[in-house]
């Protein structure tokens, strides 16, 4: 009897989590889709954003999101993979046990703190050494790259470690060096996990809002260089939702719908790759 009650209770809790997700997606699309149809894709995919006067162009924000995310990936993936390979293959047990929790701790730092560090340290650094306003694609990419490190490192580390020891032995027994083994065997063997980690990191980078608002500059235009300011989809929603009404509000939900679609696609790809292992 008690078992039955517990089972039912847990089921209700489990389904309520799924229900929340369903409600969120329903609500976003219910609010956003009518405007997309009303304004038309031509209006939406322009660069003219004046939502109170009937111009709902979010192209520059989409470009902004893509640029910042791509930049974050360049930094996050190169540092993340280097870090993973070092941890998994070239370091002793003690170093692994110390460094891995520290890297994972990066995931626990609130994004506003990253933004704060960005404003205080990185923005002035970029401004004096590279030029431009400092609030830029480059700055946001660097900070986001650091923020997605833990996701990339922990997932790809796990998949590298999951490569059976016998493969390594087989490779060494053929006279391969450690580096050759990593490049020729371990990375191909762990490929699906590594790609899943990168895609999840990518999802995090696209969705990040606070840190990006603080350091990207939020200028509403398509950037011409990585030193220009940008505004992302998420920034727009966070900055404007407080005072938006009517179609303006609906336009922000339309931004949300696009984000939602992008992130769902990324997650599906990530799950596909993970499942392959």
């Amino acid at each position: 009897m008690k078992d039955k009650i517990a089972e039912k209770f847990l089921m209700v809790v489990a389904f309520s989590a799924i229900l929340t997700l369903a409600l969120i997606s329903f609500f976003i699309f219910q609010q956003g889709l009518p405007l997309i149809f009303k304004a038309g894709l031509h209006n939406i995919f322009s660069t003219h954003w004046a939502p109170t006067r009937g111009h709902f162009g979010i192209l520059s924000m989409i470009v902004g999101s893509i640029m910042v995310t791509a930049g974050a990936l360049i930094i996050g993936v190169s540092f993340g993979l280097a870090c993973t390979i070092f941890l998994s293959e070239f370091s002793s047990g003690t170093i692994q046990k110390t460094l891995k929790p520290i890297i994972e701790l990066l995931a626990g730092i609130p994004s506003v703190v990253y933004g704060f560090m960005g404003i205080v340290i990185l923005v002035p650094f970029v401004r004096t050494h590279f030029g431009g306003p400092g609030f830029s694609v480059l700055t946001a990419s660097i900070i986001l790259g650091i923020m997605i490190l833990p996701t990339i490192v922990s997932i790809s580390y796990d998949s590298l470690r999951a490569v059976p020891k016998t493969y390594r032995e087989g490779s060494f027994a053929l006279g391969a060096t450690k580096w050759q083994t990593v490049v020729m065997l371990l990375i191909p063997a762990a490929r699906s996990g590594i790609i899943a980690g990168i895609i999840l990191g990518m999802g995090r980078a696209i969705g990040e809002t606070m840190a990006v608002i603080m350091i990207a500059g939020n200028a509403l235009k398509i950037p011409h260089s990585i030193l220009d300011s940008v505004r992302t989809l998420t920034s727009t929603i966070a900055l404007e939702l407080g005072y938006a009404t009517g179609d303006h509000r609906a336009a922000l939900f339309a931004c949300g719908s696009f984000l939602f679609i992008i992130i769902v696609i990324l997650n599906i790809i990530a799950i596909r790759f993970k499942g392959k292992e």
Partner: protein, 249 residues
């Protein structure tokens, strides 16, 4: 004499896994090493290509000569050693790559990237283990899709591709059924003409069937080393006799 050990001791931390091993392995013979589990036979095998180097806390004293050179001298080229002394493992460890890439792995490690030459090596190696006709149309498929026996053959072919002189085999048939085992044993007889083979096995019948010389190990010691005929019909040591007559093991 191709491999020779002198006063070889090996310790895992405080535990002594090999005790004063002196043995001589002759060229182009199959040397079997038998003994109960945990007697140190796999450890001994891994001394010859320095695979024990991968384990932490291993300490070795004494010397091991390969082609008259001490492989544990500080300047010895381990990478070259592992090319000349190849190893087949207990469980087939075909890499999760295509059949072709598995065979080409070793040559690529050694800097061979010429597609024509690689094609030739793959064909030659697969032919040597009698897999080529079977797999010639499936070179691009994953090696993991093959049966265990074929994977083990593939692993042997992968070794042959780097043209070693000695093949170390660590219970190569333990994951295979009797028919597959028989086929691998046939293959070993064939390979003996060109390579020196050292095989570790806990299967005495296997050693009796294929080995020319046999060493019996117990608790880290090499109790007896002689021709297979002598070991299995008229052993000198009582412990060897007890083991081969099935009193323990």
């Amino acid at each position: 004499m191709i491999i020779e050990t002198a006063k070889l001791n090996l310790y895992y931390g405080k535990f002594q896994a090999l005790k004063n091993i002196n043995l001589q392995i002759k060229r182009n013979l199959i040397t079997g090493i038998i003994g109960p589990s945990g007697c140190g036979k796999s450890t001994l095998l891994r001394v010859f290509n320095r695979m024990n180097d991968l384990i932490e806390n291993v300490r070795i004293t004494g010397s091991v000569f390969f082609d008259k050179e001490d492989i544990y001298s500080p300047l010895y080229d381990i990478i070259m050693l592992r090319k000349r002394i190849g190893m087949v493992f207990q469980r087939p460890n075909a890499f999760p790559l295509s059949v072709f890439d598995n065979i080409a792995y070793g040559p690529r490690v050694w800097g061979m990237n010429d597609k024509m030459v690689l094609n030739e090596i793959v064909e030659r190696s697969l032919t040597a283990v009698d897999l080529f006709n079977d797999l010639k149309d499936r070179l691009k498929t994953s090696a993991l899709a093959l049966s265990a026996e074929k994977q083990q053959r593939l692993c042997i072919a992968r070794l042959l591709a780097v043209e070693p002189e000695v093949l170390l085999m660590d219970e190569p048939c333990s994951a295979l059924d009797p028919i597959a085992t028989g086929k691998i044993e046939e293959l070993m007889q064939e390979l003996k003409k060109r390579y020196t083979i050292i095989i570790v096995t806990h299967n005495m019948q296997q050693a009796a069937r294929i080995a020319d010389e046999v060493g019996f190990m117990l608790l880290g010691e090499l109790i007896e080393f002689d021709s297979a005929k002598k070991i299995f019909t008229n052993p000198r040591d009582k412990r060897t006799f007890d083991y081969i007559s099935g009193r323990f093991g």
